[in-house]
Symmetry: none
Subunit: 243 residues, 2 copies
Amino acid sequence: MEVRVILVEPKNEENIGAVARVTKNFGFSDLYLVNPPNIGKKAFSVASHASDVLSACKIVNSMEEAIADSAIVAGTTSKPGISVNKHLRMPFFSPQELKKKVEDKRGIVSLLFGREDVGLLNEELMLCEIVVCIPTSPGYPVMNLSHAVAVVLYELRDVGAVSGAVSGAVSGVLPLACLEDKERLFAHIRTFMDEIEYRDYKKEKTALMLRRILGRAELTAREVRTLRGILRKAERKMGEDEP
Amino acid sequence: MEVRVILVEPKNEENIGAVARVTKNFGFSDLYLVNPPNIGKKAFSVASHASDVLSACKIVNSMEEAIADSAIVAGTTSKPGISVNKHLRMPFFSPQELKKKVEDKRGIVSLLFGREDVGLLNEELMLCEIVVCIPTSPGYPVMNLSHAVAVVLYELRDVGAVSGAVSGAVSGVLPLACLEDKERLFAHIRTFMDEIEYRDYKKEKTALMLRRILGRAELTAREVRTLRGILRKAERKMGEDEP
């Protein structure tokens, strides 16, 4: 699945620059602008290191041109439907649900974002196959244009082939300690508690507390080794001083 | 769980306005600014209908002031650790993982976002218990400040609501240790390392590792007391044996 970002008649060039930046941040590059304002220095300044995405954006005169070769057309709105009776904005999907709908598909998924002030017009939403609504607070549901793009692309970050490389970067890379090593650490802790003459009646309870704390922390193999090193060092210190 | 957004030395007032807006978009309102620039018309213009959040923001001189009453301190960075050997930025969590860690807790979760150019400094990250990294593309990992806030708040959007609705009803919700108590524990750990003559060259590194492990474990007040009790017991044992 390839992801295309389409801004329909954006008014503010800083927003366009900001959208180019976040498009690149999530590993995408296909940006279409329908009737944008002049794109000048300000836009490039906000785009920062995404000037390549901004330079390569396609400027078209109609939404139809931008979506022509799409497999799925999703339009965003901050005004979801309230009546199941009206189909224009109903049913609507969260960005997460959108991800589920597109992740096992092939082709271009076009994401449409409307004007800063009035969003997508009804006749534009009508051309969309999926209506996407970011779950915002009823107190202030209307997001800044580039923020809305940021949230939707964040959800779709793993969908495209290009961005696929990103997902494994977070926390999955750490070699966690194996159970055996952790059990050895817990046994060591119990021995240590005997050595420091920790009170018998609360030994069980405290040993379990440490198990829980260290369990929650999801220790890496390296951390387990270092923790045991600290215990050994303390034991040596106690031994030294013994008569 | 209450969510607090803290911007550390933001330079650009438009970014501050944009952060105020997205804070309100996701139903939050607690905004702290550490040494911000003058906040004028531009910021309010970008904040749009979130001028109430912007007007009510707290301006402080240090990060310490902003996090003082927090239960959990999470620092964001676009530069995750690459070596399991270094504890400052490792292990790191995705916004989704952060959500899982905080959703059933009570207290204030402080989200720290650094400067537009250099982010959070190492000494600031050191004060954080959890390091959060948004999974971006290696091609351009550095997000615009307000976009980063948007993505993290998007993930945490239900956190306040859920814990608010069930406040007190869930028996598993334990009072977490306050930052002050945890700092006392960390100071105690350092003294203990001196007492056991832990090797100087790795003292800093190991102290930071313990901070990270215990930070991830989200200690309760009771656990902090018990951990300090174990240290005292070991110290007494070492003292006893001394000539």
